[in-house]
Symmetry: C2
Subunit: 400 residues, 2 copies
């Protein structure tokens, strides 16, 4: 008998990665939370998969280092590898793909595989590290991770600017990227999201599309970049450009973005959120968000848009009552339309949340059957009995 | 009958990637050299595999963009993908792994696979893009590549500094990386390499270990970084720190590094070079080079060391006469000892040149048999008849 195995990390993923549609054994990785060895000089750290990224960063802080990915607060390093996560800092530091040096993985046959050395770059054989990152527990269980770390920046500036339209805001994000300025964060919040933040925090921010930036580096550099972006924003009808350098003021301003999701929930506390995640080539971002906003604004459901705009990646929170079948259907319809809009623009059905069970149905349109067949061949080669997290990532109709 | 297929790009690789140990058909990709579509706003370009990186950069220059990898001059984009190449700019922009958005690949069964969308990031399924990058033609033929581009920097500074020991020079490279300064290049040349450059160009540079830097960014930033590194160099007994900002002066200075290999050959024109390529965690670089230098300096053969020091990656050119069996054996002995030194320091047997036939024998020590077995399973799943570039990358003794 072949018993399915479902690895279970922080369980913050939202596409059904940790469901057990075929039953089986769930392996809770949360007790494997040792930080095994920190190499300050090499700027890397070896950890067990159950370590959370927030606790890791607390551990690293006294050493002047940090790990630059910031998904949901409960996420653990193993799960972040498995879903190829990213977050608001990916525009500067890349995604999980770019920040893992080596993995230890237990394959379905019990083989314990080391995917790399501890060198920062290597051309030694197939890139098993990257094959496991994003494989969502379907190829093996991650038991050790070597992460590349970054120096905590000596200076940072946080800035905010208002726009009359989402298109203007997206255009500024695009122009900023084109200018060669290395922002560390550029986040777009639509007017509904700002309204939610005002309601949740008793604030009175102008309820218009808003961009938030973070610039890091040396003192001269952070300020120089801020002023360049201020100029770009002004050229695109931006108003009320503010920037702060004082630590408490920065934290206060950035809190707005950090609490966006919770503010959204607080708007309609009896409803749940369906969260979509698409990513398009940068030039299509303004159009993709604008088209999506038309759909969303025409819906009876409340929808909030928030984007990692420098990567062309955006999310929508669609608030719906799961007990109302009609609302659930409407939420699904909106989600579906937005994914297809992104795919029609050479984009992806998921920028960072992964496939799980929720996005399987879009993979064929995005990548083609040949690509899915290749994935299934790899899966069958490494997991011939299909015991690792079955029913996820590869659509069931794919034949090899 | 199963006929081996050997894809052939610019043929600048040096580990035997394009040999045909089992005979077969060589597919010359050099006629597939169309630049298919440039997306300036998205900062990406779709090209055929036979396009050279130098001609691509000439094409991109008027658009203010460039592709930031700089291997040997004749290298083509397809081959650069296949060998997971990098070069001197990898310390700033990453390797081929980090700069390819999407591939089209013809698999051995004729399936034409699209590995991704044109979005900059995606969590949609197994990372087939990265699986193909570095697979050295053993999984399929790359027929189209979408590359991520970078903005040409508005300013750059080139600097040079001398040291009494290789260790001091390496330590400055390490300290620079730790300081959080984003160098775009940091190259270490040993005293033999500088002597070769003096001889080839009639120069009189001090024949001591030397570091060369490039800093890019805005005006204030490039200069600020230069001065910070000048300070670090002074703390490690660096002398004669010079930096130039004027375009001709920069080109003149950087030419020294660019012509290092040819200067090496010119030292002993009747000899060939065996070129090694290892990479270690940054903290071990000084020690790894020092240990290697002891071996090299004790050898009757002339050996030159040059390092992409910010990545912990270094090369040695060992000059030998291939008609003298003894010299060949000595060159192989040195190569072998250096690889083992790197492996004993948690490094890799190849930072950027790839495995081919030359480095196969070291993979088991570096990654373990379980890892090689996993690679072979993937190979067998996608190429059951072993027609794609057989006899490369996976050691013949690996059984699945």
């Amino acid at each position: 008998m072949h018993v399915p195995i479902v690895p279970y990390g922080g369980a913050t993923s939202i596409e059904g990665h940790t469901l057990a549609p075929h039953g089986g054994v769930c392996i809770d990785m949360s007790s494997m939370k040792k930080i095994k060895s920190l190499h300050v000089e090499d700027m890397d750290v070896v950890v067990e998969p159950g370590v959370g990224w927030i606790e890791l960063n607390e551990y690293l802080k006294p050493h002047g280092l940090f790990f630059p990915l910031d998904p949901g607060p409960g996420a653990t390093i193993g799960g972040m590898c498995a879903t190829r996560c990213s977050g608001s800092l990916a525009v500067r530091y890349g995604t999980m793909r770019d920040n893992v040096i080596n993995l230890q993985v237990v394959l379905p046959d019990g083989d314990v595989v080391k995917t790399g050395s501890r060198a920062r770059k290597s051309a030694a054989g197939y890139d098993l590290t990257r094959l496991i990152i994003g494989s969502e527990g379907t190829l093996g269980v991650i038991t050790e991770v070597t992460l590349r770390l970054q120096k905590l920046p000596s200076r940072s500036v946080v800035a905010m600017c208002n726009f009359q339209t989402v298109k203007d805001a997206a255009d500024v994000a695009i122009a900023t990227m084109h200018s060669g300025i290395q922002v560390s964060r550029v986040e777009l919040l639509d007017e509904v999201q700002i309204r939610a933040i005002n309601m949740a925090n008793g604030k009175s921010l102008p309820e218009v599309p808003t961009l938030m930036f973070e610039f890091i580096g040396t003192e001269a550099y952070a300020l120089e970049q801020t002023l360049l972006v201020q100029k770009i924003a002004a050229e695109h009808h931006g108003s009320d450009f503010v920037f702060v350098e004082e630590p408490n003021a920065k934290e206060e301003l950035w809190k707005i973005r950090k609490e966006a999701l919770w503010a959204g929930f607080a708007m309609e506390p009896d409803r749940q959120a369906m969260i979509t995640d698409v990513c398009v080539p940068l030039s299509r971002l303004a159009e993709c968000i604008s088209v999506s906003k038309q759909l969303l604004d025409a819906s009876p459901l409340t929808c909030l848009v928030i984007a990692h705009a420098g990567d062309g990646n955006f999310h929508t929170f669609i608030l719906f009552d799961p007990s109302q079948e009609e609302e659930q259907r409407e939420a699904e319809r909106l989600n579906h339309l937005m994914v297809h809009t992104a795919l029609s623009m050479e984009g992806t059905c998921t920028g960072e949340h992964g496939v799980g069970t929720g996005k399987m149905k879009y993979l064929e349109k995005e990548l083609g059957m040949e690509s899915l067949r290749t994935m299934k061949r790899i899966k069958a080669a490494l997991d011939p009995n299909n015991i690792m997290n079955p029913g996820k990532l590869i659509p069931p109709h794919v034949c090899i």
